[in-house]
Symmetry: C2
Subunit: 246 residues, 2 copies
DNA sequence: CGCCCGGTTGACTATGGTCAATACGTGTGG
DNA sequence: CCACACGTATTGACCATAGTCAACCGGGCG
């Protein structure tokens, strides 16, 4: 199943040091986190937790991509969130996972056992503060998705997804968001469909349509070139200037 | 516009004392909150904040119902949340409202000016802790809505909305959730449609269908009698037993 | 080589949206 | 008191968007 690793990464050199739940920690606090952390790796496709499962740990994604999703009895599934490096998994104070958590690519987590982490949170306000900020960001993101799911057309949904992924990649890589953009999308058509509340056929058709119209170009199946990012944004249905989130 | 009130409510007698952001405060912390709070009342239909507006305050709903919503340029709007008494408005650390906030009924807010509140939060972990819990609950609720918006049929959406409102009413009034239930729904057909990502016509048709099939009965326009709550739940598409949230 | 997985495309269908007419309740003013 | 307007809700006819079902493509791998 999972492949435990030794703690070969020291927090000081951790790639998500400045973005994860530990971002605001001083060296003292970091030491205490370091003492209770351990790493865990999942293969692509592996389930990290099922909805309703007890989860003995909380943690941060260090590397790779995972998804949060929920499935109706008859198999309809809805993705609820993309977990990228630095995103947090689990809810302090609640041991049952509310959702299915699945590794999309190979994923490495920095895990904290629940009890020690909760105790640590109680005495290190910097962790709780950072977690509040991150949770508020996720809430904004979830609400942005509500608008997409409830009110956007298939084409707008696709354009919005691409724009969101591009934006998240650019904050990770510091690329800029004008003109020509390259998007590495780590999702199958089916995963995109589950994100957008569409079928995979509709996703495929809409991507083909954007391609036909010259708004995007495919490079292989999983890399998308956007000729003009502004043109893509114009397809999202969003207010151009005003308050885009996440 | 707004009708400022004197601070006639003392926190000790506040109806939301044990559920709002101040729930975990000890008497010392409560005193400090008391020192910076003021009340504000909005009439039904009045806008509390527009998306993008600077908001000089944060606060709690004390009385009444408000909505969070977002609107695309062409007028399509999506409700993002219902704000009931004890719910929190605004985001610490960000002065611009991300959403439109509208009073549905007459609403009284317990407001805190932004700066003093943020300073207070930095030194009273109980406020931040409670806010984190509330935010995590809202995040779960938002994700439940994502599933409804993305994957449910019109009929399932209506049934889910009724079930959610019934559940929220029952936690406020301690009614029980079996058999015959009475739901006071404070929303117009259009507001329901904006919640569910439907048109008001579809909402009307689905409600008529549920009525025709004897699952619900209307008493006036705004009161719904559910003959058998289990039968309503069977129409939501949800897993019967497992993990319903919110 | 042939299978499997993921993706694309086509033909047809169904669900929900659009537009429009009608109904109903309430408050206003003649 | 009635007439009227208004906002809200219901219903119908028609239509469009996205879903369903199915065929086919292409690359990677046993």
């Amino acid at each position: 199943m999972t492949i435990p690793l030794t703690n070969e990464i020291h927090c000081g050199e951790c790639p998500i040091r400045h973005r994860a739940v530990c971002a605001k920690c001083d060296s003292d606090e970091l030491e205490r986190l370091e003492a209770i952390k351990y790493y865990r790796t999942y293969e692509a496709g592996q389930t990290i937790a099922w909805a309703g499962d007890e989860m003995s740990f909380l943690g941060s994604v260090v590397r790779g991509v995972a998804t949060l999703s929920q499935t109706l009895e008859d198999g309809r599934t809805q993705m609820l969130g993309l977990l990228l490096p630095s995103d947090f998994i689990g809810r302090p104070g609640r041991s049952a996972s509310a959702y299915d958590v699945t590794a999309v690519s190979e994923v490495t987590l920095c895990c904290f056992r629940r009890r020690p982490f909760e105790q640590l949170m109680a005495v290190t306000p910097h962790v709780a503060e950072r977690l509040l900020d991150m949770t508020l960001d996720e809430l904004d993101a979830a609400r942005e998705w509500m608008l997409i799911l409830g009110r956007k057309t298939a084409r707008e949904k696709i354009a919005s997804l691409l724009a969101i992924i591009a934006r998240r990649e650019s904050t990770l890589t510091l690329g800029n968001l004008k003109g020509r953009i390259e998007i590495n999308l780590p999702l199958t058509r089916e995963a995109m469909a589950d994100y957008l509340g569409l079928t995979l056929e509709t996703v495929s058709r809409q991507i083909s349509a954007l391609k036909r119209e010259g708004i995007i170009t495919l490079d292989g199946k999983r890399k998308i070139l956007v000729e003009d990012f502004e043109a893509l944004l114009a397809e999202t249905g969003d207010d151009m200037d005003g308050g885009m989130i996440a």
